[in-house]
Subunit: 205 residues, 2 copies
């Protein structure tokens, strides 16, 4: 692109470094910001700078937090002996949104992925093992994506945790609510028959 | 969404104000930035702040510029008596990319759109008329989008400029290069027959 201004070019380049944002989209976003008030754009810029500088990760569960220990880990009401292991903060938000979980979390910070050069030591796995070893834990729920990387991580975590003699569970996989059988893939449908549950247990309470 | 951090929430809100960016996309972008180096994110934030504060518009053609008068308006090689009227800076870039135009521009800053409350006085139309009235102009090319708003603006500009007794042209409309006739809409195809050109003129030089 031929830019008529160096500043414009810089801003477009910064935006186009974001995932899923190409040069044309970046230009559209920058022109949008140019039409906004100075204060609004200043606020945007400052929020970005503060975000990276001041944000913390909870010392217990590694979730993103404004404090040393996050709100969930310090909440009196949460069951501290129930740990839900997730990939990142988006998954914490997803589980929280269900309103069905009242334990605490452990954020791995990613999944094991040899293709991307991410091994167990790049994730907060040792600190999970440490947590299970040193604090009373009744159950570890592994809530990871049903992908190749998720399954690899699941397998590795199970190996590391199985000797502690505590229940290790994974979230149920099967036909989604509202899903029609004829459109389900064979693996999901097959597994959902093998891992069928008593009708009473399948009701939403 | 339940955010675990106020800073995170602020940043997601700022991103989701951008056109075409929802909360989920905004969160993805923010988490991406959190994985970047502090300096990179600082640079991004500072570029945004500087962009809005320091960017100028050319005093002649109103295109975005770092100087008082833009590079195109000051370039010795450009034909100053040929003015191409466009909607915004993206269209200047589009025309520049063709490598087929060697005149100067006039950026309107939008199109007349009663639906969006944009009238002729919100655009740089008076300054175009002024330019045509006070400087020698050989031809005005109206290069506007082939939309309702584009056509309205075209009609209004023609009315304002016709008394100056200079040629007023519009860019050709018709079947795009590589376009197949059977997929062309009737209006485009119909007009392209009515406004047919001698074969010799249709060749790309």
């Amino acid at each position: 692109m031929n830019f008529s201004s160096k500043l414009l070019e810089d801003a477009v380049n910064e935006f186009s470094k974001l995932p899923g944002v190409g040069q044309k989209t970046a230009l559209r976003l920058v022109l949008h910001l140019l039409n906004k008030e100075q204060e609004e754009v200043d606020h945007f810029g400052n929020v970005l700078i503060r975000l990276r500088k001041e944000i913390k990760h909870c010392s217990v569960c590694h979730n993103i937090s404004d404090q040393h220990t996050c709100n969930i880990c310090t909440a009196g009401k949460r069951e501290k002996e129930l740990i839900c292991v997730v990939e990142d903060t988006r998954d914490v938000m997803a589980v929280e949104n269900t309103g069905q979980y009242f334990g605490v979390y452990h954020v791995l910070g990613g999944l094991i992925s040899p293709m991307d050069g991410i091994g167990p030591s790049d994730l907060f796995i040792d600190s999970l093992v440490q947590r299970v070893a040193t604090t009373p834990v009744k159950e570890v729920i592994l809530a990871l994506s049903a992908t190749m990387e998720g399954d690899t991580t699941l397998f590795y975590l199970y190996k590391r945790l199985k000797d502690f003699q505590i229940p290790i569970t994974t979230i149920a996989r099967g036909i989604a609510f509202g899903g029609e059988l004829e459109y389900a893939d064979e693996i999901t449908l097959g597994r959902s028959i093998v891992t069928r549950v008593p009708y009473q247990n399948s009701l939403i309470k």
